[in-house]
Symmetry: D2
Subunit: 360 residues, 4 copies
């Protein structure tokens, strides 16, 4: 094995999925997983899919132990806690891939606005790299702190990146209507996650002020900057629905273009192909026939693939963009491992090429 | 019983639900149900929920039989066929409540654009009344031809009617993101309705050019006309997703207001309360606490209720409007019976007050 | 209204469903619902299906208040608590319909074996009547304490009653394989009811020693006694699975007959018809054609109907018996109200004839 | 690559899953997949999970082409057709792994009884090897015709094999109550697979005379023979329910032991451990704590693992045995590939070690 890695807070869904992927990664030695509540229990006690496959046991966390055992750690603690732990991990020389929201936002003020508290170590916000491999590959290569993108934010960004990059759409009135499964809310059970209440519902749970709005707008602004349009103000209306699924996100973005633009399908195709043709996990799904003409979470769950498609609406200068991904893989743990591969100069797809099964 | 009624093409989901409701309606005698394929079979052969409850048998359709047995007929044939049958039914003096799309569109040209063929009896388009009780009560009272509103169109219209009526939003860039269950596609099975393929999917099946766009825009234009704003052009971007449910629709509308408008929650509340406070089946759902803060199809399936709610987005002059209804009841059969109640001068809620159960 | 009624602990699923049914019952005045945690909140805060329909508010429980406001109370507290409350309610002259398990078992020793504690008022065990209307109609008429049958027990008993009554099967090796939805576990959320964990599972949660075994065996013994076979020892192997549904129970019973018996379909039909032909809510489902040949919970959820069917297995002297019911209605609240109708000499179906909808 | 393989009728669920697994198998070159209806279409047209992953196209079938391109073929045609194709494939020197039911039954008369027609090449029934790797490893090694076991039969056999092998249970009254997802019925859509009808149902679809009874009884008889108890007559009551899932089978077997046997948990444990301790894909699941104490299909879908567990019922000399597997993998395609590994002397787990994800 080339490197030693650890997962801090490995019992939650983000950490657990990271453990699963790393357990099959041919270049790493996963030898440290922690959980405060499950010390000395087997990982497969809470992830029974890994019985007979993983013999890892949860350990107690300490920075010394992490330093001793790991080159890179994946940090899957809740946001708010991550920012307290990252400094000490960096200090002992570890590289950190943080799955929480703590280091995604560059602007301290915006962080505070959306997360309703002061950041404890704002100076690190600037050095952290936003962990979306396709957009920040070069910065990821050389950082020691990655802030893995939010799952719903990833879906919105992957869907619209090509259009913004090519300057094809209005950026002041972007609508993202997101549909997400129940695993996105994590392992903490409550009345709203109670099966009789959560099942069979299509619950509009966060129509405005969703925290992922901050990272989506930040990334869109960066893309605009990269094409010399930093003067344009980005406004994203992000609305999230909890749908009747355990896994998967579908984001439907409704964006407008100026009448003057003369947008057609060919132009859109080109934008998407240009952006993603060399990306191993991005698939453009636009079929004229068959059942699966546009992205659907059903097709990608269990994988690190992200399916993107679009439909031009000549009725009203609108483009509808669909993006489907697995919230815990391409939306979290898969992207985290893809970032690790980049940081370690492994082939980027290492350990991530497992397909989904169909029908699921 | 006050009147005799029949249901033509009673074996489909729209017709079947109409039969169920009429079977429990205290003022009508349902004594004629037809199906081409199931002649002489019991209704409960295909609707086993009504075993021991209904002894109706399917008969063959003929206009003479309909005339002999009914005062009003509900027509649940597919669109395209309805326009061929309605004239003869009207001619023999029957009142017709048509569940198909054939008479919803007033403008022949727009009908042709969306339905891709010439209407066989365009002169009836103008006399038919759009069957949305809350918007067309007076016309319904005195017509002999009702064209019951489309299920997804109903959801969009119920959600936005109060805002348009009060002139609060831009009407040229209305986005309606609709989520609908599988029963909306009817009884005809095919590859796309095959359970292994349809289950667990969130399928973006009609992102643009959805036929319901036509009736939504027609109704919004009529509302504008009623407030003296017929000069404004309505443009609705309607996008429909098939979600992992059998029943229910949630439409999420994203609409914008002019910065100059100074919209606040109080104004929005007032608009909705004004529009719906006397409507027996329209419920305004905006809770500050609890699990059920906004409409969710889970709450209304099995009922004739329609739940409406909204969220003001100060971030970008947006209002998000949610509307949930049961596609086969408030979206079809329930509204059809409500129209009948109006036509017959029965109390409007007669036979329609059954509640849903929870958890469902 | 003929009588005043109350529901104690009305916020749980059993109590909540009782409130819903009683709210539409034409002969009763429901004017007292209690909950310790939700005092002064509207019932529709937790049962949003009843918004605009019920204006009831939760009150605090006291026996004085119950006495003042009610003739009959439905008690929906957890088992263990019920036995502490029933004596005082009876003492002030109220009739009690208890939805808990506390008074179902006649034999104190067996109660103790299955519920792992001493009963606090064992003398009441003998006077309480087991609340299964079809089997104990006469005793229910004249009692002041009904112990409504358990939902899974009801399903097993309804399925096998006709066969045991006619002495057709071996009673020492009865297998009942039960499949039940998540609402059966009540409103208390925990890790096992967390949607990501509970959804998509078929969990064998109680293969042996299920408490309902006690009431099933008790009832079967009583039936045997009624036909002069009290010497036979009943043994039921009851195994319960939590399936991927919110509502509904299907019990599949596998029972054997002696080779000497010469059982055929005609004999079985006759047994079921004899037992249930006059029962308004029991339906015999044995179709040769169509999709719905045997009972399926899908067909009866939301109703007080119970569907029963069977299949004779000539391969091995086995009869497979299927019984489907809604755990919260025919399995709990519906039967409770049916018992009340009997106690009050109302027509037994009053307030209970609502049909289900299809497809659900 | 070591060998060349092909999949005949690769568009169905059994064939499709075989293609997916073989596409990632490191020792084989999959270079021939056929479908009558989809000639020249990409495999990923119907299996969109493999877009960008597989570039295989469907070809027309011919025995010459198969011979030219393959060393081994997987035959996934419907039963009845397989028996017509196998002889010519064997004749040209190919090894055949047949996924249909055509060669599972050794006894021509029993084949005829269950499949209602004469077998066209009964002499091959004896030479075919039943494709359950754990039970027939040695015969599989040296055969050129494997008849992969039925999915539901596999689940029943895996569950009970250790108990029968040790002579612990009565074999004349074995009850297997099976719960299976909708993918088990294949790709052919019909009214009963229509989503609105199939979803949310627990349908008892084959209570008696299920064809898998034949292979289960055959295998149990062979096990008895291996322990010198061929005189005992095996009778299995196999009953199959279609549950609200796409994938996965849970079989719950209820078996009895003689009172004289003095069965205890230790003895049962030992039987299972003896049978499966060296089996890479068989897992014994009996936990005292946690959520996942017994097998549940949720845990194993998407994998080649089979989880087995049991519960001793002291109440009535009963053992309840649970067995969960993925009907399309361990129940079909996974076992087929495991057989191939054995035939080719590859390590038996090659290409089959992919884990499932959790929560699914």
């Amino acid at each position: 094995m080339d490197i030693n890695v650890g997962v801090i807070a490995a019992s939650g869904y983000a950490g657990g999925e990271t453990v699963r992927i790393l357990s099959f990664h041919p270049r790493v030695n996963l030898n440290y997983i922690t959980s405060r509540k499950l010390i000395a229990k087997y990982f497969h006690f809470v992830y029974p899919n890994l019985r007979n496959i993983s013999n890892l046991k949860f350990e107690e966390y300490s920075v010394e132990e992490a330093k001793k055992k790991c080159d890179i750690v994946f940090l899957a603690v809740p946001h708010g806690i991550s920012q307290k732990m990252v400094p000490e991990l960096l200090e002992v020389g570890l590289k950190v891939i943080d799955l929480s929201a703590d280091f995604r936002i560059k602007n301290e003020r915006i962080y505070q606005k959306y997360y309703k508290k002061k950041h404890v170590i704002p100076e690190l916000l600037k050095t952290a790299v936003y962990g979306l491999p396709e957009l920040h590959r070069n910065e990821i290569k050389s950082t020691n702190l990655v802030a893995v993108a939010g799952c719903q934010a990833s879906s919105a960004i992957y869907g619209l990146y090509p259009l913004i990059k090519e300057g094809l759409i209005q950026v002041s009135n972007i609508i993202v209507d997101s549909k997400t499964g129940s695993s996105g809310a994590g392992t903490i059970f409550n009345e709203s996650s109670h099966h009789p209440i959560r099942a069979n519902s299509i619950r509009p749970y966060k129509m405005t002020e969703h925290r992922h709005t901050a990272e989506i707008e930040q990334e869109f602004s960066l893309i605009l900057k990269s094409i010399g349009q930093e003067n344009k103000e980005v406004k994203v209306g992000f609305s999230a629905h909890a749908v009747n699924l355990v896994r998967g996100i579908l984001s439907t973005s409704h964006v407008f273009f100026d009448e003057s633009m003369e947008i057609n399908e060919r132009i859109l195709f080109k934008a998407y192909r240009t952006a993603y043709k060399n990306e191993p996990f991005m698939r453009l799904i636009i079929q004229k026939t068959g059942i699966f003409r546009l992205p659907d979470p059903k097709i990608i769950i269990g994988t690190n693939y992200c399916d993107v498609g679009f439909k031009l609406d000549n009725h009203m200068n609108r483009i509808v963009v669909l993006c489907a991904l697995d919230n815990l893989i391409k939306g979290t743990a898969g992207n985290a491992v893809q970032c690790m591969n980049i940081m370690c100069d492994f082939p980027e797809t290492t350990g991530l090429e497992f397909p989904g099964y169909f029908p699921s």
